[in-house]
Symmetry: C2
Subunit: 458 residues, 2 copies
């Protein structure tokens, strides 16, 4: 037999790991097919756990898909501003959603993204430095693709990190350069740690090219303040690194005193012209939660045109990001305005989603901290808790999470999938189960934890 | 300054070329911004040149985007089968279009694809061996990714070829192994040529891993018969190669005596268990022309489960194909049935699109062949003509296409972007301009060709 064999596949592909959809999730799906009820806390997929889409988004998308509705629908079926928005979208994408767009994405959407950034940060943005992507993931992959030439090119990633980064660096044959967030101080980072990580890479013959920061943090739930952002930028400047700022959770900040500070805003306030910055945003998180639509953008600052042209070329090889996701991105950055007929409903829905998430963040954090043997930092932002678990010697977090799944139907991801300090164990859970289930989930984790630790010799 | 520089980008990325959206297209967009009317014949983007979407597809997508319409729309606004289809889609994707799907795509869509293949080929297909992808391009890239480990891994590609293949092989650091289609016999391939190409690769230290076939052909417009398909499969078996069958133009067969023969059907009829086959299809071509929706699928045969698991993992790293494109793929493979309220309109629209394309194929072919110095093979399938042009010595097809653009506003792609026999020159044009423009387009090409050849010393 001469069919293709597993052994024929290159190492880079085989060694890439993506725990968020790894073996434990596969087992959960198997159990579900056997009739078990599974609570999927492994992935930030809000609508799969009952979060409802924002009406504004779906109404405009429906009209853009089927423009005949604009003429055929009876008056009042859609609010006037929805109709006006759909007409405007169709006027500016004159061939509709069925055509390949520019490789970078619809120009009018990139202009609206630039305006959104300007309004958010108070600083100009260039539509030609913005790329519309199939979710933020594809944007991250494009940037890593241009940064990594060979196995000596290092990319600094936080530990714990979102495994898109580790998997993609492995796939592209680069070197992961970990910098460890400080768990005991709410997963903050420090210049000292960044410098140590950089030096350790150099000592191994690796040349760091860029630093990735996820803010608000996935899986940590931390939110960086302006000083932290500045620390990263100053470090990047001193060491000649590009910065990848994963800001997909920018609307998910839960504590009253905190606020999201974008890397772009600090870069501009400091007048830094000598650090290349790549920022990412998405329609999948925040309050839209439109994961399935695969919409997002990448914004470049201080990136020379010939480098951006290479990103355009990468996008062009698979033509363009999907057009519906591009329009969803438009609707993210161009919401109804005060006084528009849809505004009140939009604000109500947004507030409900965000307030519910805020309460869940608090419930999960408090609930987990009440369990002896589980310690959880503040869930200050994003959609996850990443608690530390104390287990009997020799027991791994993989075993723990698999047993949790088998015994309770709750699917979480082992800390090993994100990286953790040696000698520590964690898991990541989303805060997304419906409000009425959250207490039960936490209770079941508590019950499981005690029994498991006891059984395994704790 | 320490910002990222073009020189820092790896060779593989810099050397990847994608002519379909290359410098001539960039120049066309520049001219358009200056107010010139450009006729884009560079890319198979039917709806951008006036082809209308199929109503069935857009009606179901509109309802799936905004399910409230199912209750709120007055009776009669949507046909009953459209409503039933939307309800069925929503029942089987119970959280709607806003969630990440399985990494492989919605299971019910994969089941429908398997049924579509069974009905087309009369042979069973396995939903678990089907992956839903963001257009066929992403499926091709996943397969090439697992086939290429290093620069000694060769991928056989036709010359001329669609540059997705050459660009992706370069990007992944593999070796292109060209096999030249025989222009004088309607771009047919022969066992002799395949063997010669294979041997030439071996002599250079390259180990061919797979052969790519595009049928119907892009850019050639040729359609393979069963004997041709068998030739490829026998060759692949003898040489231990995987086969990539790009079948996105399967509904675009224009000559009365021809019909599309899938690689899967021949593989099964010959009972070949020892050739791995990867087949691709898309919603972008055929009669849907839904390029912007980025929908498509990859089907694997004789591919071991551990290899398919690696493809799943690659898909999972960027989560999943966009959900709307997945549903568009569903609507491609599950059209209205005879007797359904939408059936008549669906058949009418499909027939109009295909008959119009058939007439355009003939008009373009005949028109180009009437120009002295241009010779065009039969446009038997797909959406392109790839005529050979005779130019004065020393003149390149790049110069020709750029001058054509500047002087007539017609944007075509030089043959060099697809590959051609040494000493020959070509360009690729789509057959997509509106019927009423086609004659004018061909006339302008004729006028330009004579004047250009004369001016440049012909």
């Amino acid at each position: 037999l001469v069919v293709i064999r597993y052994e024929d596949i290159g190492r880079a592909v085989r060694e890439a790991e993506y725990a968020v959809r790894g073996p434990i999730v596969a087992r959960a799906q198997e159990l579900e097919r056997q009739g078990r009820k599974i609570i999927y806390c492994n992935i930030g997929n809000p609508q799969s756990l009952g979060q409802r889409p924002i009406t504004w988004v779906r109404q405009v998308l429906a009209l853009a898909e089927y423009p005949e509705l604009l003429d055929r629908a009876p008056a009042g079926l859609f609010p006037e501003d929805v109709v006006a928005m759909a007409r405007s979208v169709l006027a500016r994408s004159p061939h509709g959603l069925g055509t390949y767009t520019e490789s970078k994405g619809f120009r009018f959407v990139r202009e609206a993204v630039a305006e959104f950034i300007r309004a958010r940060d108070g600083t100009a943005a260039d539509p030609e430095a913005i790329f519309l992507t199939d979710g933020a993931s594809k944007g991250v992959q494009s940037v890593l693709r241009i940064l990594i030439s060979d196995e000596r090119d290092g990319i600094m990633i936080p530990i714990p990190q979102y495994p898109l980064y580790s998997a993609t660096i492995t796939l592209y044959g680069g070197a992961q350069v970990p910098y460890h967030l400080i768990e005991r101080s709410e997963w903050r980072l420090s210049r000292e740690i960044l410098e140590g990580s950089f030096e350790a890479a150099l000592a191994k013959g690796v040349r760091p090219r860029a630093i990735c920061v996820i803010n608000p943090g996935n899986p940590t739930g931390s939110v960086l303040d302006e000083a932290n952002v500045e620390t990263v930028l100053e470090f990047a400047r001193a060491r000649g690194l590009s910065v990848l700022a994963d800001e997909v959770y920018q609307d998910n900040v839960w504590l009253p005193g905190d606020r999201f500070v974008s890397f772009a805003s600090v870069l501009e306030r400091r007048g830094m012209k000598d650090v290349s910055l790549f920022s990412f945003h998405s329609v999948s998180k925040g309050f839209l939660g439109e994961c399935g639509h695969r919409g997002g953008y990448l914004e470049c600052r201080n990136v020379p045109a010939p480098v951006m042209d290479e990103i355009t070329k990468l996008q062009s090889i698979s033509l363009c990001a999907n057009s519906v996701g591009q329009i969803a991105t438009y609707l993210l950055v161009r919401p109804p305005r005060p006084g528009d007929p849809s505004h009140a409903l939009y604000v109500k829905e947004r507030t409900e989603v965000l307030e519910t998430l805020r309460r869940k963040a608090e419930m999960v954090e408090r609930g987990l901290n009440a369990v002896p043997g589980i310690q959880c930092n503040r869930v200050a932002g994003a959609m996850y808790a990443f608690p530390r678990i104390t287990l009997p010697p020799g027991v791994t977090d993989d075993e723990y999470c698999l047993a949790l799944l088998e015994e309770t139907g709750i699917c979480v991801v082992p800390g090993s999938g994100f990286g953790q300090d040696p000698g520590t164990l964690h898991f990541r859970t989303t805060i997304l189960p419906p409000m009425e289930e959250i207490e039960a989930v936490v209770k079941r984790i508590a019950g499981f934890h005690a029994a498991f630790a006891k059984r395994r010799g704790g």
